[in-house]
Amino acid sequence: MFNLIVKRLLQIPIIMLVLSMLVLGLTMLLTPAQRAAGYVKNEQQAVRIDEIIRERGLDQPFFTQYGNWLQNTLQGDLGFSKSVGEPVLDAILTRLPNTIELTLFSFIPIIVLGVWLGTLSALKKDGLVDQVIRVLVVLAFSLPTFVLGIVLLAVFYGYLGWAPGPGQITVENRLLLDQLIASGEFQKYTGMLSLDAMLNGQWRIARDVLAHLILPVITLSLVITATIVKLMRTSMLESLTSDFVRTARSKGLSERMVNNKHARRNALIPIVNSGGFILLGLLTGSMITESIYAYPGIGRWLLDSARNLDIASVLGYSLFVALLVVSIRTLIDIGFTLVDPRVRYD
């Protein structure tokens, strides 16, 4: 067991090394000046770009460059993001809490709705409810995120005026928030605006932020909810036909007891297993949603950077996300082996 964990953990740095080498190898297609642009902070530095190239050794052979880059990166210097005018690492760290906030709020409807509708659909198999749910699932599953997002925004903000417009917060509340932060009355506990506002007792701000989150959360969670409903339905059907459920029924337990305690709890296993992967998918897949709703998360920053051909930011983001994915996947795998002795990864 111990050997296995060590082996899995050792794989993380190796994968990251090879991946960063491949990605950095791709930038060798560019000119040294283009690579140096990722370290330029302002106009004055842009003038002396030749010095930067020499200082950073950007005209050297690949492995020298890679060594320099690795050294800088390990010291936290990922370059400068010209699209937002901050160092790349700062840009990631200031935006990450917003994306985590969006992810967590999307996670709730996915699990609650997914499990509830999936169970309902399985219990009423081939009935009217089941048919309706299955049609809705296919519909939801076929909506591309970018179309869904823009149509929701158009209908609920543009046509009906029920939802607030794009952004994280209205202008008045943004000004109020800035004032509060400046006067020291607003403490940042988590970095997530809605939670912080609630913890500070600023209910007006909290309500505003939550209202702005509704459409992005629907956009981000709908497709995955459909997948979970499908998964839960299959799993529940399997569980309902298994022997232990028949035994429970023949013991004379009530229908409710059998369905909720015996069948559903066992049907939940695949959902619990995929929980980590859903979170990971939300965290790394929120960019289209963030871009449509002008939500200040890391995904929107990546797209802005990519549009402006800001190589340093794109590389920084991609390696950060890869590290996140590899680490969380490894943790999930190790968690499975610890929890369930039948699982083996060889």
Binding site: L30, P144, I150, A306, S318
Partner: protein, 339 residues
């Protein structure tokens, strides 16, 4: 007499092989599913739109000039070389969305522009020729991915050992990055290398790099399974070469799974390219492309301009829905786990 018999035999066998497939259990299951068949028909309609785009949205302006077209009826006349050229080898200017005017504000649907216009661009023309553009990309990308996946997956599974190990670790590295992120990285670097150029080749490269691995994983798994079967041993004992064993005996076994995957990819690639263009990372403004048409609607989210968004959105959703209905049933029918 002695020479005729084997010939008859092969003809008979070929026919029965097709019949076996058509009347086999998976195909019967698929044909019985009405929703799937509806999905297939709508999907085929989209294919026809792509093929007959020059007739549905006839060329005008630069495109008509480059085709050497003198009057519109030439596109519908099979005797005229213009029709064949427009259908099979249209010049690049035909993939530029028709710009009827330079008025920014959308114009409601009319006979000239059935879906209305935005920024002066004819939305209907953009969607119809956009279908053609994405289908072309989807077939090219999926084709390359399938071939690469088969070759690399077969090599990996058939030879095993360090070759297999190397390939699998490389796939691990590729899968470490979410495919959309990797696509964006590759596209950004290739676009920075050649700013403002035609993004077709960069998009194909990005999709091939992120796409081949999932095919090769399936092929490898299938190869590992079939490699141990007796008929493969028999073929080897008869002196079959490695290549012959792989392509004659092992790969045909996994074709059904591969085709299902490829059909699903034919739907996801167009939607992915549309999403990229919507985000401003794919085709630049002016190309006939789905995502761009949706992007044009962003400043016009008012009820009186509904047509700017709703026609392109309905077009894309219908495509996605039809493909999903058909693809799901196809997977159900051919997936060995559900048989």
């Amino acid at each position: 007499m002695t020479t005729a018999a084997p010939q008859d035999f092969t003809v008979l066998k070929k026919k029965s092989r097709f019949q076996e497939f058509w009347q086999g259990k998976p195909m019967r299951k698929l044909r019985r599913n009405k929703l799937a068949m509806a999905g297939l028909i709508i999907t085929l309609l989209f294919g026809l739109i792509a093929l007959f785009a020059p007739m549905i949205a006839p060329p005008k302006f630069n495109c008509a000039r480059d085709l050497g077209m003198t009057e519109e009826s030439q596109v519908y006349n099979p005797a005229s070389p213009v029709m064949w050229k427009a259908m099979f080898a249209p010049p690049l200017t035909c993939y530029q969305t028709q710009r009827i005017s330079f008025a920014q504000a959308p114009q409601p649907p009319s006979a000239e522009a059935p879906f209305g216009t935005v920024n002066g661009y004819n939305i209907f023309h953009g969607m119809v020729w956009g279908t053609r553009l994405v289908f072309k990309l989807a077939f090219i990308i999926t084709g390359i991915n399938v071939v690469l996946g088969i070759v690399i997956g077969a090599i990996s599974g058939f030879f095993g050992g360090w070759v297999d190990n190397l390939i699998q670790r490389f796939i691990d590295v590729i899968f470490a990055m979410p495919s959309l992120v990797l696509t964006i990285v590759i596209l950004t670097i290739l676009r920075a290398k050649n700013p403002g150029g035609d993004p077709t080749i960069p998009i194909i490269i990005a999709y091939v790099i992120t796409g081949w691995a999932s095919y090769s994983t399936y092929v490898r798994a299938d190869v590992l399974k079939t490699r141990r079967l007796e008929y493969v041993d028999a073929a080897r004992a008869l002196g079959g070469s490695d290549a012959r064993l792989i392509f004659k005996h092992v790969v045909p076994n996994s074709l059904a799974t591969l085709l299902t995957l490829a059909v699903m990819d034919l739907a996801t690639v167009p939607l992915g390219v549309a999403a990229l263009s919507f985000l401003g990372l794919g085709y630049p403004v002016g190309y006939t492309e789905w995502g761009q048409m949706i992007d044009f609607a962003r400043p016009w989210l008012k009820p009186e301009f509904w047509y700017v968004l709703m026609y392109p959105a309905a077009f894309i959703v219908l495509f996605s829905l039809a493909f999903n209905l058909f693809g799901d049933a196809l997977r159900d029918a051919f997936d060995p786990r559900t048989r």
